[in-house]
């Protein structure tokens, strides 16, 4: 099913906006809950003698945990839609139930991980669980809502052959993948190591020596999400928004899947390669090399 151009673009714009919010909130949730690759440093810190007050949950890799969360919510939504509830109500209830289940997993994952670190004297802070878990649930709820809404739009408006839960599963996996690839770099590469010089990669020798002091008092996971919301979250949102928007933009413009659609998609990809190259050149010129070329150095001396 291909809608007319105006309606198609409207649905696509809505999907793009939902995807941007979903991407942003997914990343921020995994920052406040500390999940995926960057969490390896939080896990390692007590072993290096750095006890901390950072929430430490890694239910699984982000794609799998978000796929699970989105498919749970979408299944509930589908059941409620069969009971003839309004779509908005059904999606909201579905996302809420999935978020509560996610909260249960977060708490058990955190408690389990900290318990496994008892030999390193890492305490389990109950107050931290009390105020961080609702934040995780809230972020997850919004991300779920957006993902299920995208799946619903695709199923009802764009004529995708997959049912809503399966579409939500795929988008959950994709948003988890992008959150892990983009936003976590800001959390792991920058926020956790703000004590090292800006503009260099993390020296392997510093692994596990995360910053534990906050802007005021001891650093908490809420401090981390405050920082990551300035760049990591929005960048992830833009990444996921681009995926959803650009993948289906040629399809809407060219009224279906034709060879012209494929050529347009390919041109988008080529433009992105060029953009990445421009970014690479710009950043190398701005920051400069870390060391001099031996031959050039010898020639000068």
């Amino acid at each position: 099913m291909v809608l007319d151009l105006t309606m198609g673009m409207a649905v696509l714009a809505l999907m793009g906006a939902l995807a941007t919010i979903a991407g942003c909130l997914e990343d921020l949730e995994t920052d406040v809950g500390s999940q995926s690759n960057a969490n390896s440093q939080v896990q390692l810190a007590p072993q290096m003698g750095f006890l901390h007050r950072i929430y430490n949950k890694a239910i699984s890799g982000e794609p799998v945990s978000y796929g699970f969360s989105a498919v749970t919510g979408a299944t509930v939504t589908t059941v409620l839609l069969n009971f003839r509830l309004y779509p908005l109500t059904a999606i909201t209830i579905g996302a809420f139930i999935a978020a509560i289940i996610y909260g249960v997993f977060s708490t058990t994952a955190h408690a389990g991980r900290i318990a496994s670190q008892s030999r390193f004297k890492q305490p389990l802070y109950m107050d931290m669980i009390r105020y961080t878990t609702p934040t995780i649930i809230a972020h997850n709820f919004i991300a779920n809502f957006c993902l299920i809404a995208i799946a619903y739009l695709q199923f009802t408006m764009l004529g995708f052959p997959f049912p809503i839960p399966f579409l939500a599963l795929i988008w959950g996996i994709t948003v988890g993948c992008i959150g892990s690839a983009v936003g976590d770099v800001h959390y792991g590469g920058e926020r956790q190591y703000q004590n090292r010089e800006f503009g260099v990669g993390l020296n392997t020798a510093l692994s596990g020596r995360i910053v534990r002091k906050g802007e005021s008092g001891l650093r908490s996971s809420i401090d981390n999400v405050w920082f990551c919301a300035k760049f990591g979250g929005p960048a992830t949102g833009i990444g996921f928004g681009l995926v959803v928007f650009l993948t289906f933009w040629p399809v809407i413009i060219f009224r279906g899947y034709t060879w012209n659609t494929m050529i347009a998609g390919f041109i988008i990809v080529v433009l992105m390669v060029l953009l990445n190259r421009l970014l690479e050149v710009n950043i190398k010129n701005t920051y400069g090399p870390y060391k001099e070329d031996k031959i050039e150095k010898e020639a000068r001396t």
Partner: protein
């Protein structure tokens, strides 16, 4: 009734095996740095092989399935192209967002530790690798390699879907697409996990020496596993009658 010895079925099983192998090969092209890349300690995109390969491939599956549902008489080449397009756009979007993050969020230039010069642009890499790291960011060669991987993964996923929908549609008309989609995701995950053991967490792309070292073994393993997956995919159709 579906027969395993039917020449058409044998061809379908073989096509699934080929598609699985394509997905496995695709994973080796995708520049993943795992946890070290998330801390700007290694070149590539800061996530796992399975995550990124499956993430991009599944977007390709979405576009391919959408296309096939709208135009059931479309040639197979167009279905495969739709899969490749979806995957490539996903990979390119992630690459750009990731590049912006490394450039302005962490503040590191893109540099590969595996080559002195970028094989595509000829730009120096070694001078930009900071102390105590194995490179950082997504240089052009990694970006292009990722796109090749995404295209192969998208084609592989779309081909599995195309074959399975063809088998299941006469048996279960309404839910054939969903069953074929779920099975495609399963084959995708299986073939994304197999190379993970070979690449051991990080690989920069086709220019990485690890690429040539592990690819042949992984591809053979993947072919055998995908062949089994194909047999199972055909066998489950027996229960649909």
């Amino acid at each position: 009734m579906v027969s395993l010895l039917d020449p058409t079925m044998l061809t379908n099983i073989f096509l699934i095996a080929i598609s699985g192998t394509l997905i496995c090969i695709a994973v080796h092209f995708i520049p993943v740095g795992g946890a070290p890349a998330a801390m700007a300690q290694a070149t590539g995109i800061g996530t796992g092989t399975v995550e990124l390969a499956a993430g991009s491939g599944l977007v390709g599956l979405l576009t391919a399935s959408h296309m096939y549902a709208g135009e059931p008489n479309a040639p197979v080449s167009l279905v495969l192209a739709a899969g490749a397009m979806g995957s490539m756009i996903m990979m390119a979007s992630v690459g750009i967002a990731c590049g912006i993050m490394y450039a302005y969020g962490v503040g590191v230039p893109f540099a590969s530790a595996q080559v002195k010069r970028d094989p595509i642009t000829g730009a120096r890499q070694d001078l930009y690798v900071s102390k105590g790291t194995q490179g950082h960011g997504v240089p052009t060669v990694c970006f292009v390699s990722g796109l090749i991987g995404a295209a192969l993964g998208g084609i592989g996923g779309a081909l599995i879907y195309y074959v399975l929908v063809g088998i299941y549609t006469p048996l279960i008309t309404t839910s054939a697409a969903a069953v074929a989609g779920v099975f495609t995701v399963a084959v995708f995950y299986v073939n994304s996990v197999i190379p993970s053991y070979g690449v051991a967490g990080t690989i920069e792309g086709f220019h990485d020496p690890k690429f040539r070292r592990v690819l042949p073994k992984d591809a053979v393993t993947s072919f055998v596993v995908s062949l089994l997956s194909g047999i199972i995919a055909v066998m489950i159709a027996g229960g649909m009658v």
